[in-house]
Structures are given as C-alpha cells and as structure tokens.
Symmetry: C2
Subunit: 344 residues, 2 copies
DNA sequence: GGCTGAAGTGGGAGCGCTCCCACATCGATG
DNA sequence: CATCGATGTGGGAGCGCTCCCACTTCAGCC
C-alpha cells in the first residue's frame, strides 16, 4: 500500500474553481467550455489558462442533469441466433461505429441482448432515455425494438430494415443487387443448376437476397425450381444442413449461392463431406466478404458489402437525427461488389 | 408527422412526484428505490405502487451527481494490431463481459483504441472518472494504460498481465501450461522437429507460451534450436510469414506449435503453398480454440482457453474491487485444455 | 451630448437525486 | 410511570452544471 493511497484523492476542480481562478463568473467559464462565441478574447484566454492549471474536466453528470443529454449512444446487438465472435459482420459494424464516434464526444454503449429478460432491461433503459440515440443491428420483422424506438421518439438508425416501408432511418447494402450479381456470375461460368441457401426469412435482407437470386434466374429465362431453395439462418450450421438438403433433392446441382459467408462455409463442409469438389463439381458464392471468405478452403467468391462503412454511416445519420429531431429520416442503400476467388 | 409528435412528451415523473403520490417523503422513496431495509412494509408497498402507476425510472444523472458513481464500466480494446473482427478472442471476451454485466445494473462502454489520439481521449475520460471501473484487454509490456489506472486508483482488471509481478488485478489462462501440453502432444505423436511461431513478445502471454514450448522440449531432452523459433504477432499474416521462415531454415520440420489460431491459420496456408500436407508432413497446433480452429482445413488441434469465462471473471473481480476499493488484488489463472482435431 | 443597440458578463435558479440530521413513535425496561 | 433505545420518517442542504435574465460597457450615430 503506497502512502499516496492514504491521503484523500485531490478533489476534482469545479467550474466554480476555474471561474475564481480566472477572475470571471461561472457563466463565462461555461461559455468557454462549450465553445460559445460570445466571449471576449481576453476572458477566453484567462479561462483557458485556469482550466489548464487546474486540470479541469467538466462533470458529465451535472451537465446531463441540466441538459438532459447523455452524450452516449447505444449499439444494440441481438445475440439470439448468432454469437458475436462467429459473426464478423457485427464486429465490422462495431469497428465502423467506434471509429466514427471517436471524432465526437459521444460514448459507445454496447448492449448485447440475449434473451427476453435482457430485452426488458434494455426497454427500461431506453424508456429512461439514458442514451441520446440508438443503433440497432440485425433487425427481424417481428422485433419489438424498432417500434419502441418509434414510440419513444428516440433518434435511431437501423442496420437493415423491417420492410421496404421502414419508417425509421436505416443503412443497408443493396442485397438484391448483390445476389443478382452473384447468380449472374455463376450463370456466366456456365452453371445451370444453381441452388441457394437463404438467410432467415424474417429478415428483409435475407428476403432481398433470395429475391435477387430469383430475379437473376428469371432474367436468364431459367425456370424457377423451389427444389433449389433451402432455408438457412446465416449460421454455418444452417449452411451445412441446407446444403445437404439441396444435394439430396437435386444431386445434379452445380452451383450454390449462399446468403452469408458463414452459410457458405457450412455449405463447403457439406460438399466436402459429400465428396464434391469445389469449384469443379459445385461452385459456391457467399455474401458479406467477411474475413471468413478469405479463410475457407478454397477461398470464397463473395458479395462484398461495405460493413465497416455501414457502421460509420449509421453514426453519421444518427448524429444528424440527434442534432435536429425533425423526424425526417435518412435511408441509405450502399452498393455491393462481387469479389471473385477460387470457389467459383 | 403524427399528432403525438406535436404534444410535448409527458415529462418523466420525478422522485418527488412518487413521494407525493404515495403520501410519503422523498427520503422514503429513495430508500425503497435503493433497497434500504429501514422502511416499513406499509410505506414500501405504497411507494412501490406509486412507482408502478407513474412508471417512475430514476434519473441516472441526478444520482451520479450526488453519489459520484457512474454505474458504467469501460472495456478497453487496443486495436493497434488486430482488427476486432479477425480476433474471435476479443469478441468472446466481450460476450462474457456483457453476459456477466447483464445481472448487474452496470452499463458496458466499449472503447476501441486505434491510435495515439484516441488513447489521449481515453486518458482524459478516465481521469474525469467517467466510469466506475475498467477492463483492459490485450496488455502490452509498454502499454501506458495500466500505469494510468494505478495512478488514478481506478478499479481495473486486466486480461493478461504485464509481467509476473503485475500489481493490478488480472485474469488469464495458463499459457505456459497450455503450450507445454500442446508440445507434449506433438512429441507423443512422434514428431521430433517441432517449431513454433510465437506471438508478439512484448506480451507476457506470448512469452509464456514460448516458455512452455521450450520447457516441454527440455523435459523431453530435445536440444533447443533457435532455428525452430519464428516470431509472429498473433495475426494470420504473421503466421504465414513465420511458417515460411521456418520452412526455409528447417525444411525437415515435422510439426509446429502456433501461439494463436490465427497464426496457425496463416501457417496452414504457408504449408499448403509449400506443398506440405497437414498433418502427414507437418502437424499443426494452435492456441485459443476459437471459431477459427473449427473452420480451417484441416480443423485445428488447439489449446482451449475459456475466453468467455475469462470475460465473466474479469467482471466479477471488478465488481468486488469497486465494492471495496481495498486495494487488494485478485489474480486468477485459469486452466487450459488441449482439443485434438485433424491437424495433428 | 444623449440615445441606441450590440457585445459581454455575473450570478440566481433549478435540474433530480442522496445524504444526513432532527424528529416522531413505540415497545421494553427499571 | 418516566426513560430509553430501536426503528422509521420528513425534508433541508447541496452535488456541479446550464440557462437565462438583468445588467454593464462602449462604439456609432443623429
């Protein structure tokens, strides 16, 4: 135990102390701290010096109490299906969000919601307006959270949307377009029996990817065949099972478009287990172009969506909505890009 | 614009309002809210009903102002080397931390520190004591943050430690023991020329893993050969380059112990490029047993460390330290376990 | 020289809470 | 029956800040 631990830690200086030292009033110090222009150069200099000498840092709680701002935003990640660690998508969003937030003085609260109990806790938290805004990732159609955000009139931005009529702000990738590009690519490689393992169809993104798949086939005048569609859930396991199903139903299948990289990784596994070679026998395309795509054997052709950029854009939209809660929403759709690797 | 948007949102009820409604004083409501036992059953019931009727939620800012607690802890992740998304380790820690925190009323602040500027911002933030405690992940020997935490006497728990004399609380896995088990396993498989690709040696964990490797060889009376040691940095790229180096120096090498799964994934790639078969020509063992280990081809034998559990334990230690800042530290070392898969 | 308005400034009020002290109230005790 | 501690209770004070209003100062103008 050090001697230093014994003596009371020097109390943090208050705004009042700064004012006294600078020989000005509290109001002036407050103005300087908050960057108001209505301060003379002389007063500003005196205050700034006093702040430096005293090592003054504003007390956030006191500020919040009167402004009823919190200077914090929550990033909400439902972890019902996917684990954080197996979903590079989440991590990339977090990275983007954090990077964009670093330029502001907002703090990032990370809220993982695993079950009903935790969702209720979050509901209370949001109701108490303990954050200035919310970023919500992985939106399901029946998710009650977006509605809550609407009711609370809390600034919010979604990654994804519930439907095309989504009233809240959102940022998402051109899912249908990406899927279309992927399937066209497979067609151009001469594949004819192209299957798909979808994502969870209670998510608009997964629905859009399936729609893009169908559209590309329709455009090429390939007759639709529901036997070529297996339902997954974005997980590896779902991909594996979906692929098995597909192989059982259509042994002649020569390509598969997977709704996520993880799904594709599962599909690769199922194909390997079934003795099919990739890409010779069956070509595989994923979606996300996450780290996973580079690590599989063979590396995955995948539809790149700018996930980190999406995180950044979400923050930018949120900031605007916080700045002027004018209720007009920002809805951004980002382009995707096909990255071709050995799997196709 | 809905009509509801026009009318002023009902102001949140205050403690005072609850007191009035329950026909008691502010003090009594405060006692009920904070679970003090010094309240009669009758008063408690009245207050609880009033709270329910009014939908009262305490104002955190006001509470913080007087208690100078913040009810938040920061999880600090330096992102200098590794990206969040490529490091399942970080994600698993986050998951554990979040899960354990869910049972408390503490909030989780996620702070990714990418560069000097962001570190300074964090320093200011911690100096202002805007959190009740700090969890620090990925500790490097020359990291200035632990020292800052010591000086501030801010409750803190590290994942890992700077050295064996670490004065702060920490949670870590038995790195040396795990490495030893891995190398013994390789020896037991009849491997004789066993190399290693280390982690960044400015991290105690990486040093310990290297020490464990050496120890196992020494115990088996295998003469040490520095040609079998390549330096990596826990990344895939480092693993790939390290493996190439090793192959160049010791073409007869028949096994390699990698300081992380990512490193091992890189090593697998280098081996494939060099035309070596795994495990026939060269056996590979990783460390962490993260999701990566299951996804490589072939799946990796790996030393499992209970990463998520580490996150949970960090929180528990931190809670105790916050509860009674008695300066006596908790230092926990968790056992590791070898998980054998196809790569060895 | 008096008047006006712009530009700064000081400080009271009050945000919603906890802390703490003074003050009941009441059963047990000598 | 007075006295006493134990058990609850009400409410003043004050946490550190921003907001806002009243006030001063002074340049510019008729």
């Amino acid at each position: 135990m050090t001697p230093a631990a014994q003596q009371p830690p020097a109390a943090r200086p208050t705004l009042e102390a700064v004012a006294a030292r600078a020989g000005v009033g509290r109001g002036t110090v407050s103005r300087v701290v908050n960057g108001s222009p209505k301060v003379s150069a002389k007063a500003r200099a005196a205050v700034e010096q006093a702040i430096a000498e005293l090592g003054y840092v504003p007390n956030q709680a006191a500020r919040s109490l009167v402004t009823s701002r919190t200077d914090a935003v929550a990033l909400v990640v439902p972890e019902s299906v996917a684990k954080l660690s197996s979903e590079p998508y989440f991590s990339d969003i977090i990275t983007g969000v954090s990077a964009e937030l670093a330029g502001t003085d907002l703090q990032l609260l990370l809220v993982l919601v695993r079950d009903e109990r935790e969702r209720e806790r979050l509901t209370r938290y949001l109701t108490a307006r303990r954050v200035d805004g919310v970023l919500l990732v992985s939106v399901h159609q029946d998710d009650p959270l977006p509605e809550l955000l609407e009711q609370l009139e809390l600034p919010a931005v979604l990654a994804g949307r519930r439907s095309e009529q989504e009233p809240l702000s959102y940022v998402l990738a051109d899912n249908a377009g990406g899927a279309r590009a992927a399937v066209r690519h497979l067609l151009s490689r001469g594949r004819t029996a192209i299957g798909t393992v979808t994502g969870p169809l209670d998510m608009e993104g997964a629905v859009a990817r399936l729609a893009g798949y169908r559209q590309a086939l329709a455009e090429a005048a390939v007759p639709a065949d529901e036997g070529l569609v297996a339902h997954g859930d974005f997980t590896e396991r779902g991909g594996r099972e979906g692929m098995r199903e597909l192989l059982a139903r259509r042994p002649d299948l020569d390509a598969v478009f997977c709704a996520s990289d993880l799904t594709a990784a599962g599909a690769l596994r199922a194909l390997r287990e079934a003795g099919r070679r990739v890409p010779q026998d069956v070509a595989v395309v994923g979606f996300d172009d996450s780290v996973v795509a580079r690590h599989t054997e063979p590396p995955l052709t995948s539809v790149r969506q700018p996930t980190e950029e999406m995180g950044r854009l979400m923050v930018r939209s949120l900031l605007k909505e916080i700045a002027q809660p004018g209720r007009f929403r920002r809805q951004t759709v980002l382009p995707t890009e096909l990255v071709v690797r050995e799997s196709s």
